[in-house]
Amino acid sequence: MSPEPLLRVERLGKRFGGFRALDGVSFHINRGEVLGLVGPNGSGKTTCINVISGLYAPDAGRVLFAGRSIGGRAPHLLARSGINRTFQSPRPFLSLTVRENVEIAATYGGGGTAAPAVDVVLERLGLAAEASRRAEDLNSAHQKLLDLARALATGPRLLLVDEIAAGLNPAELLLMADRLRALAADGMALLVVEHLMGFLERVTDRVIVMNAGREIFDGRLAEAVRDTEVVRVFLGGAGHGN
């Protein structure tokens, strides 16, 4: 285990009006590690991603990326310095072509040397055949891939993945899991927000369980499902099955 994790989140807080979406959550991710982020709806998972990726400035706590504090920095600067994300419902540039979508990310966000060529990204995600189609003409599975391609084109060292498995069929799920594992094998760190337990089991090295804006468990998924507090939080919920 490397001495300094790639991302360290310390007692992060974010409130909307009177609602504490994040209430002192802390965790870390190492290079090449896939960390799952699970928890009931409203437990703060997506807010967490939004804060790390710069869409919201945190109210309290720190976000350290490669040892430097980045809390509150603008999203485009974070994208250029190696943090990127996908969206729960993909947000491609609808009237532009698939290639143009990826090109923008590669030219503007690919500041680092790690940025792969546009064609490599399209090839790797199986989008090469769609390159000249407009994004609005893609089906939703392809739009998810395009969202991922846009993120990968910036050559991220940390990738935040927000519920990418929802709506995929079993074959697509397996393929997506393999793709995420392959990214980690190349040294990328991934934070994966997901509900599907089978998918998490396949992809993650470790999981954080969140409830009411803070972490209540940090460890392997197999242990999480035996943890009494986790079971209580998920009582009757998504903890089992799937």
């Binding site: 909307f16 009006g17 869409l55 999203p75 609808l94």
Partner: protein, 291 residues
């Protein structure tokens, strides 16, 4: 002088609430901007004028006729354009342009039909002599217009918060897609809101000769600006905010006219910009996301 300015400001504020109310109801329910709102107000003014000039009808009776006819006119307009408009990708933006077109049509027809001369109804029709209110003398016509406006606001409030269809209307305001998914007949609710919005504009028009001065086919643009200022100050889409916006606008207008009359016409625009920049969603609005 200050007390008089504030009191007449509050009276005008009630009327300006009515001017903005229909526009805001339509925006709140359909997320479209009825840029022809001011021209519907103009049509209401002309309807009141002709009903008075030709058959001597009292404006209070005209207002009932205008309410009914304008609501009925609004329904076909809704079904002709709004569903198709809402299906477009950027309907909010396109609505501004589309209703600009409607505004041009109304203004052109009104100019062809009525000519460009100014029409007015004498204020004494609503009652003669000044009315003493809290030690201040105000024209009766102002007070009657304000009272009718308050009544209209109260009825809209009852409709939205005390009736079944009003509850459905508020559900559509909060989230159109979810309302649709939960089986609400969104088009019927919207058509009703559109009809009411148009009728309220017509009602505001009936009293505009007493509050805004004589009517001409070209008056719509200025009415629009006042209506926008009122509803933006109070929060676009929130009917409760309109009353707040109307009163702030009315009082500010009267203060400007009393103390800085040369610059009074700047007021709606500056107030609107200032409020938007300080609170982009209006005084009652909720916080919006960053980026």
């Amino acid at each position: 002088m200050l007390a008089h300015a504030i009191l007449s400001g509050l009276v005008f504020g009630c009327y300006f609430t009515l001017v903005g109310l229909g526009l805001n109801l339509i925006f709140g329910v359909m997320r479209i901007v009825n840029l022809a709102h001011g021209d519907v107000v103009m049509l209401g003014a002309f309807a009141a004028f002709w009903l008075f000039a030709l058959i001597g009808l009292h404006p209070l009776i005209s207002s009932l006729i205008v309410l009914a006819i304008f609501a009925l006119l609004g329904l076909p307009v809704y079904y002709l354009v709004v569903p198709r408009l809402l299906a477009a990708r950027d309907s909010e933006m396109l609505s501004i342009i589309l209703f600009f077109g409607v505004q041009q049509i109304i203004e052109a027809i009104a100019t062809i039909a009525f000519g460009t001369s100014e029409r007015s109804i004498p204020g004494r029709v609503l009652g003669s002599g000044p009315l003493h209110l809290l030690g201040q003398a105000l024209p009766v016509a102002w007070v009657v217009s304000a009272a009718v406006s308050l009544l209209a606001v109260a009825l809209v409030y009852l409709y939205l918060y005390r009736s079944r269809v009003g509850t459905l209307t508020r559900a559509v305001m909060v989230n159109r897609d979810e309302a649709l998914a939960s089986g609400i007949d969104v088009h019927r609710v919207s058509a009703l809101a559109f009809g009411i919005g148009v009728a309220l504009a017509g009602l505001a028009g009936v009293f505009s000769p007493f509050m805004l001065g004589s009517a001409t086919p070209a008056m719509g643009g200025d009415v629009n600006l006042a209506a926008f200022a009122v509803i933006v100050i109070g929060s676009l889409g929130d009917p409760r905010g309109t009353m707040l916006g109307g009163l702030i606008y009315g009082v500010a207008l009267m203060l400007m006219q009393t103390y800085m009359s040369a610059w009074a016409n700047l007021l709606p625009n500056l107030l609107l910009i200032a409020v938007l920049l300080v609170r982009p969603t209006g005084l009652l609005g909720r916080q919006v996301r960053r980026a």
